[in-house]
Point group: C2
Chain length 449, copies 2
């Protein structure tokens, strides 16, 4: 069996590895446009900030040579797939200017997402986007060659926040511009959004919300400023982090259906609706467990998991992709922010009568040094009390508490059940009542049960 | 309505506060033997170790005066209840040598537990037990007046471990003696027990397992050594931490039923089987959610929760006590240890065909500084895959992950469901696959589904 995997990120490499583990005779080739495979995109901000020292290889889980030697996967980098012919079961790829035609029995589209960049400032070498480790390498080069003084980061999502703090931490005067009224757009409850903004300001990042960047001013091949409606922010480094979009060109060419949300549509076993074409990773529209909708959520765990499922399917297994809650967490300085499931507006959009509660507590017993404020917001279905999602903003130890809410949301627990859960207490790690349990108690008062 | 609460710990004070909140007219009196009410017993090791600075009041949540003024509770300290007459609805108490008779409409027994001390070395002023904040005050006095050089802690439970590390951290040469084959008796899986022992040794505590302390040698009112079967350990400070037992004398006198496990038996609303006598807190035998058995588990959250339920019951509410999993966590130095639910042997005793898996992972992405080893052990029912309990030993960030296992155990999730849960990932807080999910995947392979 000849398997071609397009894309060597977490999904593609997980898929390829799993096929080879289950079926060592399979002929598995991974075709990767960039120079790296199997790298941690999530690690880039920590590498740029200097927390992770050394060169880009530090973020590589498995290099092409190891993949060949240890796993028997034929990994090729610097090769771009140009067209797919799903009738013929072939694709055309170009590498070093040479075209070649490759045949497959199974094709896996692990093409991921690309950074959205509406600013047409490609000619400026001090304008960066982040998606691939190659982008990180370029950023590292720009940072050391240009030693920028003022940075402007456009886009207040998790990546924009992490990058802003990394840059500020390097001593660069940093402004973060977000078009929405709050950081993370409208995903956080207002009180949590305010906490997050305050904490980011405390980390020396100037935050401008409700300001849509209109243009990047470029002179002589270098960005000099970012233009907002009411002001212009001087910057000798600009980071565009306004989001990503699935790379679906090859899938469309192969005649695979695309979800309304924009990602490739698959069944639970990661098969597209075209014979012998599978898809996995960030470019896929995953089913959301709570809303029932398809969502594009470029997160490493889903990429890894969907890649494994695609691999199992190819190898004749029965694994299924269980769906997502969109759980995400970020850490910068002494701040942790996390979310899972639906927020109140999303819950209403999905047809739930939703209620919510927000509490403030501490990460530890109040008398312990380092006990930090933590805000927890919980969303529940009014009629049943079922937890639909939650959010956390707080100090060290706050973020991973989202897992308790994720587990509860996953198991369709009610607020009452979450309050009743026997969660762990010791003074240096938690107050007697975990903040999540306190939030559940407050949310339980809002529901109709 | 006249409510008498015997015992001013977390349970008694939670109960009293809740009654007054629901029914401000109620006449609520708390009778406490010791000098403090509403203190954090769990904070004592951190106060002795110097992490919490200041005097004993730092560990007091609410002092008697505040309770009177702010909550309208008549709190009396230094008063010992000697007898109860449940027919007459009276009790006799002694304070400063004077006896008084008090009448009640509702009696709440929040009498807690006392430290087990089989060594009959009370005359030695350098032998300590820990249960009450008064014990902590005495310990602090002994530590400063005697400046001990060598300590021997008898009992390798969570308290013994925390106290040992606190003493070692103060520069005292410390030996921890545990009668069982491993720390925490046989509660941890062998690999996790070994990890824990190794980590405690790394914190400069000499650990002797499988050695039952036979006697404390006392000369001229001071302990000088602890006698083990094969050796004698010189010590100018001895801590006895071999466990606790419920204080049930008053309950028995009132003719309340006592559970086989030793604690006071109540219904879900914390009523004993004697009219108008309720019980809450560490002295109660709580129902275990997984085994269905009654268990004595002196843990702060249960005390607090059962006190609230007792208060609700008295005030005419409908709250119920949901049972326990026995979730516990401890932290010392850079080590965290946590457990919830049943271990494999307990699961078998409770009638489950149990399987288990143990994995080693890291607390963060491998390339992040501070990524520390973490061991996770998961126990599941073989036929269904249902999670029955789990254990964690690892570095910073390991311990509170037990909450995910506790939530799963509470909701009767299967290992497959836990593996599928969308848990949070970011390099500084977790590897892509949370260690709990990895353990769940491994345990899922052991089950029959």
């Amino acid at each position: 069996m000849r398997v071609l995997v397009v894309g060597g990120g977490a999904a593609g490499m997980s898929c390829a590895s799993l096929v080879k583990r289950r079926d060592p005779e399979a002929d598995v080739t991974v075709l990767e446009r960039g120079g790296f495979v199997s790298f941690s995109a999530c690690g880039i901000p920590y590498w740029l900030g200097g927390t992770v020292e050394g060169d880009a290889d530090r973020l590589v889980v498995l290099d092409p040579e190891e993949a060949r030697q240890e796993r028997g996967i034929d990994v090729r980098t610097g090769i771009e797939v140009e067209t797919v012919d799903a009738q013929d079961r072939t694709l055309e790829a170009r590498s070093d200017g040479e075209r070649q035609t490759l045949a497959y029995d199974r094709l896996v589209l692990a093409t991921g997402v690309e950074a959205v960049d509406p600013f047409e400032a490609e000619e400026a070498d001090n304008v960066l986007t982040f998606r691939h480790l190659d982008d990180g390498v370029r950023a590292q080069e720009v940072l050391s060659s240009r030693s920028p003084d003022e940075a402007c980061v456009i886009g207040g999502g998790l990546v924009g926040i992490e990058i802003s703090e990394s840059l500020a931490d390097r001593g660069i005067e940093t402004t973060l511009v977000e078009a929405g009224e709050a950081l993370l757009g409208d995903r956080l409850a207002p009180e949590l959004g305010e906490q997050l903004t305050e904490r980011l300001r405390g980390a020396d990042v100037a935050v401008r919300c409700g300001q849509r960047a209109e243009a990047i001013e470029v002179t002589d091949g270098a960005a000099e400023a970012v233009v907002l409606p009411d002001e212009t922010i001087g910057a000798d480094l600009v980071v565009v982090a306004v989001g990503t979009q699935p790379r679906t060109r090859l899938a469309e060419e192969a005649d695979c259906s695309i979800a309304d949300a924009g990602g490739i549509l698959t069944d639970q076993r990661m098969r597209t609706d075209v014979d012998d074409v599978l898809a996995c990773g960030d470019g896929v529209a995953y089913p959301h467990r709570v809303s029932g909708e398809r969502v594009v959520q470029p997160l490493a765990l889903h990429a890894n998991r969907s890649g494994r499922v695609a691999g199992e399917t190819i190898a004749g297994g029965e694994a299924t992709f269980p769906g997502v809650l969109g759980t995400a967490v970020a850490q910068f300085g002494d701040t942790e922010v996390a979310l899972t499931g639906l927020n109140e507006a999303q819950a209403r959009d999905a047809g739930y009568e939703a209620v919510s509660a927000t509490i403030e507590a501490r990460t530890k017993a109040g008398y312990m040094p380092g006990a930090a404020p933590v805000h927890v917001h919980l969303v529940a279905e009014e009629a049943t009390g079922r937890v639909l999602g939650g959010q956390i903003v707080g100090g060290h130890g706050a973020g991973k508490r989202i897992d308790t809410i994720a587990a509860a949301t996953w198991m369709e627990a009610t607020c009452e059940e979450v309050e009743a859960m026997d969660l762990a207490y010791t003074p240096p790690l938690s107050p007697t009542w975990d903040p999540v349990a306190i939030a559940a108690r407050m949310a339980a008062r809002e529901v109709g049960t």
